[in-house]
Amino acid sequence: MAVATEQQILDGLAEIIDEIVGIDKSEVTPDKNFIDDLDIDSLSMVEIAVAAQDRFGVEIPDDELRNLKSVQDVINFVQKLQS
């Protein structure tokens, strides 16, 4: 799989979040914190991680998931593993 750009990861993540928890794509910006800003709980984060795994072809285990607090964290994590 080709390495995705930051914008592609952001767009993909926004689509996933829209589908799973129904938050509008425009709300999902890099500075947002999942729990505090987007009100996404830990179980939804698991679902988002699984969907992100399928989409971006990287594994996001539960241990790592705990450290991914913001949208930017996920973008960085996916880029790091893809490269």
Binding site: D41, S42, L43, S44, V46, E47, A49, V50, D62
Partner: protein, 321 residues
Amino acid sequence: MTGLRIPEATAGARILAFGDYRPARIVTNDELSRTVDTNDEWIRTRVGIQERRIAGDDEGIVELGVHAGGKALANSGLDPSDIDLVILATCSAESPMPGHAPQVAHRLGIDAPGAFDLNAACAGFCYALGTAGAAVRAGSARNVLVIGSEKMSQWIDWTDRSTSIIFADGAGAAVVTGSDTAGIGPVVWGSAGEDYDKIIIDDRHSFIRQEGQAVFRWATTAIAPVALEACERAGITPDDLAAIVPHQANLRIINAIARKVKAANAVVADDIVHSGNTSGASIPLALSRMIERGDVPSGAPALLVGFGAGLSYAAQVIQIP
């Protein structure tokens, strides 16, 4: 000698009727929040449960099973004497010995049937139904009473908010008989014993504990493919389904599985809202309610999929009786 006599086989097996039993006592989220640090909104959003049924002190696996089994038997129109095999799925018995199926059979007036307990935890009913269908088709039994009976409350630490809000008590049952066509599709079953400790009662002095997040991930990823395979093996597509009846583990798991199965015309069972997670009893409890409410027409295909401790899982498509 060329081998022993081959028994007379039957082409298919089908479900004649369901029956259920819900204990009288309703425990609301508000009641739980008085004893553990939780609240109604948290429980509803995390697991989707509003209330659950808890059995009385005098109601054990046998009593619960007798109520549900008796109702299924009555709904089937068969006599107790027509039943020659009783399979009782449970993972929450107060004692491992003796098995509970013989007592349930005796209490229902079923004379000397084959009778045994089966433990595949929350997948127990689907395992039992698959076994019953196979027994009928192979000529090992004519009519089978399949029961899922659970008293999870006796294995709950009522101060543990991660489990006490989830599990509950109840029983559901089905009567399986032979038929010329298949009303019970092929069972797709499997296990992941490497994850045996994800949902576990460690010993007789312990309570149920589970790794919620790991189980959630497993259930929302590994189970939908099993369900889809059951459809394929039954010769139908998800769009043919009138109902999806996943084990009532957690409403969010149920919805995640349903989303992945993509059955455009199916009602999704949500009995968990009022019944909690009753492990091996949850699928027949949910189906009974759907049939009673008229949510699913007779003859329509419904997908059953059980999954839980073991880890064990099983799925099959049935025709609604």
